[in-house]
């Protein structure tokens, strides 16, 4: 479980996060939604430690990430897997080298054990036999899947996904959503997903947080969000005409 308390972050005069409190539960897909500039990405970057918050605390199963020493942070980070918006795969490496990278750095596995784990992870994301391909030889959807395979290589307790569907066609997007959901349930990870895709929010989300202008404006489940009376949230989730037609 990840608990966030009073998280604030500013860039110069601009306060992006104005004091966010949130709980992200284990074994659930926790969705963060909000319009562009609402602070979703900054929130995720603070939680994974890419940005240092100005105030507040981030508790990973009770361990405060903000006040931790560098060495403790490094150990905790080995429990974190992250899927980046554009996959962030190392383009100088092959598919299997990308997945093996954290294993080589942080485990004492033999070559055979690393190969086995890489094959398991690639099988899990439905990419068996693609080990030797270079990153520039595979499609956007495959890159996302390799990104997921790399993220789960160390068997993480916490999985972060930043816009996992961006740039993907609807069918591939659904495959990725389904895969993240399955992994969350199978490995009981605390999964946090930043997304704009309302289909994935409604179909695969367990808990949803809506950010507006740096504050948590709403929190609930997919069933609750469908029937919300909050005008601002309704404007956001039913921005597309066909969604409005569906609800009417």
């Amino acid at each position: 479980m990840i608990e966030i308390k009073g998280l604030k972050k500013s860039f110069g005069d601009k306060q992006v996060l104005k004091g966010i409190d949130a709980n992200f539960e284990e074994g659930k897909s926790n969705m963060i939604i909000g319009s562009s500039g609402s602070g979703k990405t900054v929130l995720m970057k603070c939680v994974v430690g890419l940005l240092k918050p100005d105030a507040g605390s981030i508790l990973y199963d009770g361990r405060d990430f903000v006040t931790m020493k560098y060495g403790q942070k490094r150990i905790l980070r080995q429990e974190i897997g992250m899927l980046f918006q554009y996959s962030a795969l190392f383009d100088s490496m092959t598919v299997e080298e990308n997945v093996a990278f954290p294993l080589k750095l942080f485990t004492k596995y033999t070559k055979k054990q690393i190969d086995d784990r890489v094959n398991f992870c690639l099988d899990r994301v439905n990419l068996p036999g693609e080990n030797k391909k270079n990153i520039d030889e595979i499609s956007g959807g495959m890159k996302k899947r390799v990104g997921i395979a790399r993220a789960i290589a160390l068997n993480p307790k916490y999985l972060f996904c930043d816009e996992p569907n961006s740039g993907l066609d609807p069918l591939t997007a659904q495959v990725i959503d389904k895969l993240i959901k399955e992994i969350t349930l199978e490995f009981r990870t605390t999964t946090i997903i930043n997304t704009h895709d309302m289909n994935s929010v409604l179909e695969y989300g367990d808990c949803i947080i809506y950010l507006h202008e740096g504050l948590k404006h709403w929190e609930g489940t997919p069933a609750e969000i469908r029937n919300t009376k909050d005008a601002r949230l309704r404007d956001f989730i039913y921005a597309a005409q066909f969604m409005k037609d569906t609800i009417v």
Binding site: Q78, F84, F106
Partner: protein, 245 residues
């Protein structure tokens, strides 16, 4: 004030770069890969530049020595001394600042804007150590090797032009080149080279590491890497000459 901000940022990057590495075996492989990119792949351009430096120095020296009282062997002397003391370490390093510096800044800058550095950080990898340290170590070993090759090729270029253009007899050229050779000159050239290697690799890495934005910013970082490395090479060339000679 901006200078102090950037200088402080550069020092912080160096501190992180030289902190304890995660897995030595992976670092060793990266150092070999970087040595290939920085050293072996720069051999061609260094060879071309060096041969022409020596050839042109021979012609220029012969043109300026108009008195028949001055022996031909002086040409070999001047070509050898100026090559070892100044031309090879400085000119070749300036050329390498262009080739290696832009390469390093573009590579690291692209990794920054494509979130690959963020991916390393999230995994708990010291990204500065992983990316920058192998480049600095490779540069510190490979640049002196390249400059020694450059010195030899430059003297060879001067020798061949002197011989085939009828400027100086081969034995006169060689005796002149050998007559004033001092070990100290060579040591000084190596001190300069190691300093330039550190400047090129660290400044270019710094420019790439803190690139922010998209492809345009990566291009700018690459340009800054070359310009700043070149200016620093000239500045430290002067400082070292003033201090040591």
């Amino acid at each position: 004030m901006r200078f102090f901000f950037f200088f402080g940022q550069y020092l912080l990057l160096l501190r992180n770069t030289f902190s304890k590495p995660e897995q030595r075996s992976i670092y060793m492989r990266r150092i070999f890969d970087e040595s290939q990119a920085i050293g072996v792949e720069s051999l061609g351009i260094v060879a071309i530049v060096s041969v022409f430096i020596g050839a042109v120095t021979t012609i220029n020296t012969s043109y300026q020595l108009v008195s028949s009282w001055i022996p031909d062997s002086v040409i070999g002397q001047i070509v050898s001394d100026s090559t070892i003391l100044e031309l090879s370490p400085t000119i070749a390093s300036l050329v390498l600042a262009g080739k290696i510096g832009s390469n390093i800044a573009t590579e690291i800058g692209t990794m920054r804007v494509s979130e690959q550095i963020d991916a390393l950080e999230v995994m708990g990898v010291n990204s500065a150590g992983y990316l920058v340290l192998p480049k600095i170590i490779a540069a510190l070993f490979m640049l002196p090797a390249l400059i020694i090759i450059s010195m030899l090729l430059s003297i060879l270029g001067g020798y061949l032009v002197g011989m085939y253009a009828g400027i100086v007899a081969p034995d006169h050229f060689l005796s002149g080149a050998q007559s004033t050779f001092k070990v100290f000159t060579f040591v000084f050239a190596m001190i300069k080279t190691v300093t330039f290697a550190f400047l090129i690799s660290s400044v270019s890495s710094y420019q790439g590491y803190y690139a922010d934005g998209g492809s345009i910013e990566v291009g700018r970082a690459s340009t800054r890497a070359v310009v700043y490395s070149s200016v620093l090479i000239l500045l430290f060339d002067y400082i070292l000459a003033q201090l040591i000679l």
